[in-house]
Symmetry: C2
Amino acid sequence: SKQYLVIGAGRFGSSVATTLYELGHDVTVVDINPSRVQEISKSVAHALQADATSEAALSSLGVREFDVIVVAIGHDLQSSIMTCILLIEMGARFVVARAHTEMHGKVLSKIGVNRVVFPEKDMGQKLAHSLSAFNIVDLIELSSSSNVVEVTAPAEMVGRSLQELNLRARFGINVIALRSKDGKTNISPGGEDIIKEGDLIIAVGDNKALKKMGWV
Amino acid sequence: SKQYLVIGAGRFGSSVATTLYELGHDVTVVDINPSRVQEISKSVAHALQADATSEAALSSLGVREFDVIVVAIGHDLQSSIMTCILLIEMGARFVVARAHTEMHGKVLSKIGVNRVVFPEKDMGQKLAHSLSAFNIVDLIELSSSSNVVEVTAPAEMVGRSLQELNLRARFGINVIALRSKDGKTNISPGGEDIIKEGDLIIAVGDNKALKKMGWV
Ligand SMILES: Nc1ncnc2c1ncn2[C@@H]1O[C@H](COP(=O)(O)OP(=O)(O)OP(=O)(O)O)[C@@H](O)[C@H]1O
Ligand SMILES: Nc1ncnc2c1ncn2[C@@H]1O[C@H](COP(=O)(O)OP(=O)(O)OP(=O)(O)O)[C@@H](O)[C@H]1O
């Protein structure tokens, strides 16, 4: 399991942090606002109050120890950019930052942020697609209540082909990738691909279906 | 094509509106702020300045004419709730509202909003899952650049089974549902299901893959 740092415990940051923690990872959250630190401390391993634009505060955190750092500071563009610059200068391995506008996103990419996300813009697009496509009620259900999961292949699936297992028809689960023990990833595997022991199954499905499988 | 009304042209509302418009729908956007109306008018059919909490303004819009109304007002909880109450009283057919907090969401559901969305919370969960699952770079690519599309079955696919077509292995496209001409929806179809003439194929895929198919 990996070590994650989330800076900024607004709705987006809190959601990233608590979900990662529920997935079994070691999550540290930093926020400048003590009441937000208090709130998030109920849902993650470590919550600390600090100003992420302070080089001293960041260096004491041990920025290089984390596999991924998520900068979820929202409206304060300057703080967001400054925090990212500091993290990158301190040797952060992988930085994901949430951007407020296209311009903000461009600046973040230019300073070396590895991945920029636009939560409101992306969800707006997803909602529009689901409202546009078929029976509105069905597809809104599907697109906002589905998840991507990664599970070790259960014993009863090992040695069987995806076609044989027919997870889609039987459980409404879509296998989008298989990753073997030696780390090779097979994206969009075909029906004839066989599940091997130690394979990680990466699947998309409705939350209810995933719960039934015990996969979420 | 359907008629959509989007109230509130922040980042979320603008994204919903412009995406729906790009998908070929008739989109009207309302915002109380004239500069936001100006900005969004470049990207949609109709943009109007109005206060959505005003019964007079809403009634002149012809609330019942719209297939779907999206209330994308952000921080102002009172305006969001009041707007939804007015819309429902005026006979709006399907209302989707974005909620700011869990409590806000509960209130909206109770007053009869058909679908409540939590953009920051949902994107936070999606990002967490993609950061947690396999090779970070692959899956972040996949989850934020994929889309749900709905297309009429092309002639060359009619009469063939999904297994035969093997869209996943050949193109990286996942068929998540089929809807026949008579309106029956088959969610998570099996490999032996045959594509019929006039079927609508609802699929998920990477944007590059979808572009190659000419499906987006
Ligand atoms: N310099 C900083 N150091 C640490 N945390 C910060 C700093 N600046 C802002 N934050 C925190 O980042 C969090 C998110 O920022 P903000 O509230 O501006 O965004 P938001 O748009 O409301 O977030 P969301 O949309 O995720 O709810 C806040 O909890 C805030 O206290
Ligand atoms: N009563 C109202 N009538 C019409 N539009 C309104 C009303 N109140 C707010 N709005 C508009 O709703 C839009 C979105 O609201 P707001 O800016 O509070 O949310 P936001 O959190 O910044 O949005 P986003 O996260 O989508 O960027 C704004 O453009 C604002 O002008």
